[in-house]
Each structure stands twice: as C-alpha cells, then as structure tokens.
Symmetry: D2
Subunit: 131 residues, 4 copies
C-alpha cells in the first residue's frame, strides 16, 4: 500500500502534547483518534458529514480495529493521514489508513477499521449511498 | 482541607501508562477522569448510581472544574482520592477532591467540580434526594 | 473578558468524535487538550515552539487549571480558542482562554492555566524571554 | 479462544464516564487503555512491574494492535479482561486479550498487541526473563 494508491488528499494534523506518553513519543492509542478524525474528513468530502448520518439514524459502529506502528512520532510533529476504502459490502465498509510524517514523508503507521452500519437500536442496515 | 475533613473512605486507583505524557509523569488532564471516577463511587455509596440518575433523566453537568497540582505522580503509582460536598444548592452541588499518594500519604493535588442538575433537554432541576 | 481583549488570532479546531460522551456533547475533560493545543500555537507565534523549550530544558508545568462551561458543544462543531496572558511573574505565567463556537460566535467556555517554568529536575527557573 | 484457555485470573475494571461517546456506549479507543492496564497487572504477577522494566531500560513498544468488538459495553459496566501469551520470540511477545462483562460473562471484545523489547535508544533487545 503506497501513497499513490490513495486517491483522496490526506488529512493533516499535529500531535498534541497529551497524546504523548512517558516513552517520550505519541502513545499508540492516539492513532485511534487520528484515524477517526481522518475518517470524518474523508466522509465530509463524500457530501454528507458523519454527524448528519448519525442524526438520520445511520451509525457506523467500529467492528474491527487494527494498527501497525512503523516509526515513532513525537509531540508537535505534523502528520498526514491517507484514507481509502479497502472493502465494501452492503452493510459494512473497511477503511485503510496510512500515516506519514509531513516533513520527510516517512511511513509512521498503517491501519484499518471495519465499520458496520447500524440503526439506533443496533440493527444492521444498508450503508448510506455516499459511502 | 485536611484528610480528616473527609468522611467517606477514599477511592483508590493506579495511574495508567496512557495517562502519562512526555514529561514522564501523569498528565494534568488525567485528573479529570480520576475526579469523575471518584465521584461515581461517592454517588454509589449514597444509594443511587449516577448511571441510574441519568437513566431517570437527572443529568449532572459539570459547570466549573478546577485543579491545583502539588506534586507529580507517575505511572503505576497508587493514589487515593477523597471526595466531599463543599456546597449545595437546590439545583447544584460542588464537590471537593483531595488526591494523595497511597504509599506516603503525600498530597498530590486538590480540585473541585460544580455540577448542575439538568434534564435531558437542558433545564435546571432539583438535585436527587441522594445528593 | 470579551473577544476584543485578545490580541492574538484564535486557534481553530473541530470537536473529535472520541471527545464526546454519553451525554451527547463534548466531555468537559476535552477542553484540557484544546487549551493545551491553543497554548502550543500561541507559543509558536512568539518565536519558539514549546517543543524547543522542552528540548532546551525549560518545562512549563501546569500548576493550576480552571474551566467554566457555559454552553455545550457537540461533535464536528468548529470552535475558536482565544489565548492571552493574564498574569506573569519571573517563573510563572497564567494564560486565559475563551472558547467560542466558530459559526455563531457564542461563548462556550472560559478557562485558565497557571504554568510554572521548571528544569528537568523540577527546580523553578526563569521563564524563557519569548513568554 | 475460550475463557478456559486463560490461566491467569482476569483483570477487573469499571467503564469510566469519559470512556463513553455520543453513541452512548464505551468508545472503541477505550479498549487500548484497558488492554494496557490488564497487561500491567499481568506483568506484575510475573514478578517484575513494567515500571521497573522501563527503569532498567527494557521498553515494550507496541508494534501491532488489533481489536474486534462483539457487543457494546456501557458506562459503569464492570468488565473482566483475560490476558495470555499468544506467541513469543527472543525480542517480541504477542499478548491476547478477551473482554467479558462481569455480570453475564458475555463476550464483549477480543484483541491482541505485539510488543517489541527495545532499549532507550530504540534498539531491539532480548525480552526480560520474567516474560
């Protein structure tokens, strides 16, 4: 999975101080929030915000989460998060992420989340057409 | 505010790894979660859990939060959190916290939260009798 | 404390999904990270990043934290965080924050942090000239 | 992977309020902290705390993280986290987790983390004998 495989422009953010830990670099759990933020922006670009989706009763529940950490990143580092669809069914979509340092382009991490579309009462339902 | 001023037994917890930051000690934001956890246990002891309160439509919204940090605490340190009422009105209660190291009893931090009781639609309402 | 009292342009960010809680709005602890991020940008504008300061051995330890919550903000809301100096001594600085909704300009919260400048071994030292 | 495959007693904890999100249940990122806390206790039972390991220069860096979410859990729910070794090499260990509701024993999630043992300067080194 190289950068060229990602059609959408990446989401850019800076590592927060509170996202580091006593090892002196970003905590591995911080990537959960970053993937989520990248996903929010990826969805916005498809014409419907995730907030609208939820308000309309289409919840995207995280069913599987995976991340592989390649190289540590530190507080105040700028990163780029590339997002794309890896697989799609009627009721679920798997998104793939690639995290790069903004300065060197060096690979920091890769990851994926499988999201199932459910109603407020937890029943599986079709993904919105925007996805 | 000395330990003797607190009637209830303290809540005990251990600092999580993810609660530290690159300064090598617990991040000042971690105390928000600790006060909240101590508050949950303090309420449970009064005979009604906060979860029940929310389910019955009595939400305790944090209106003011304050903390003073006296001495850093580190990953895996055990701490005690003492909780008591500082002030109470018909619709709001201010809780006070004192954080001590479990090993030495040394003071780590103090803090307070003012909580207003509101309904699901945000209207002020009377505090439940348990508080 | 009105917006006009803040000389620096505000820091803009969007509320993350993980920053909300079961009350359906941003958790009161999320503001800790937002004030911190605003502070990082406020310092960058003064000519030295906080990361540089730490690398040079000047740590800004949070000694006091306070926040007052005026109106809830929700996932995906855009907010503006204004930052300014409230008080300064040789070794400590108190920063003041004002959080507004980006769309309406409505006040969401105010807050402050007192930061003491310490060395790696915890001794108080003079604030860097940039502050 | 059934409960019987886990030799060690599970780690028990309660879901914190701040660990929920606007979907009304625990956020998928909260499991990162829970696996970490379970790991800390699993290591303590082996005779050396992870804090000691870090102090002695043996850091366990998370290289891979995975979680599968089976059934939502909510604020104040009590959960049990079972931990065991899935695979071990000279320099890395993969731990497996199983999260159950404490009341019903129902499966909430499974997960794993691969941890590489590195020195302060990031070089791979042998795992401590306790692992």
């Amino acid at each position: 999975m190289a950068t060229g495989d990602f059609v959408d422009p990446p989401h850019r953010l800076r590592v927060r101080y509170c996202e580091t830990d006593r090892m002196g670099v970003a905590h591995h759990g911080s990537y959960v929030a970053w993937f989520e933020e990248a996903r929010t922006e990826w969805l916005r670009r498809r014409g419907k915000t995730y907030r609208q989706m939820e308000d309309e009763g289409a919840l995207l529940q995280v069913v599987d989460f995976a991340a592989s950490y390649k190289r540590p990143i530190d507080y105040d580092d700028e990163i780029l998060i590339f997002t794309r669809v890896q697989e799609r069914t009627k009721v679920a979509v798997t998104l793939e992420y690639r995290v790069e340092r903004a300065d060197t382009g060096g690979l920091a991490a890769t990851g994926s989340t499988r999201l199932a579309c459910v109603s407020r009462d937890g029943r599986l339902q079709r993904l919105p057409p925007e996805i």
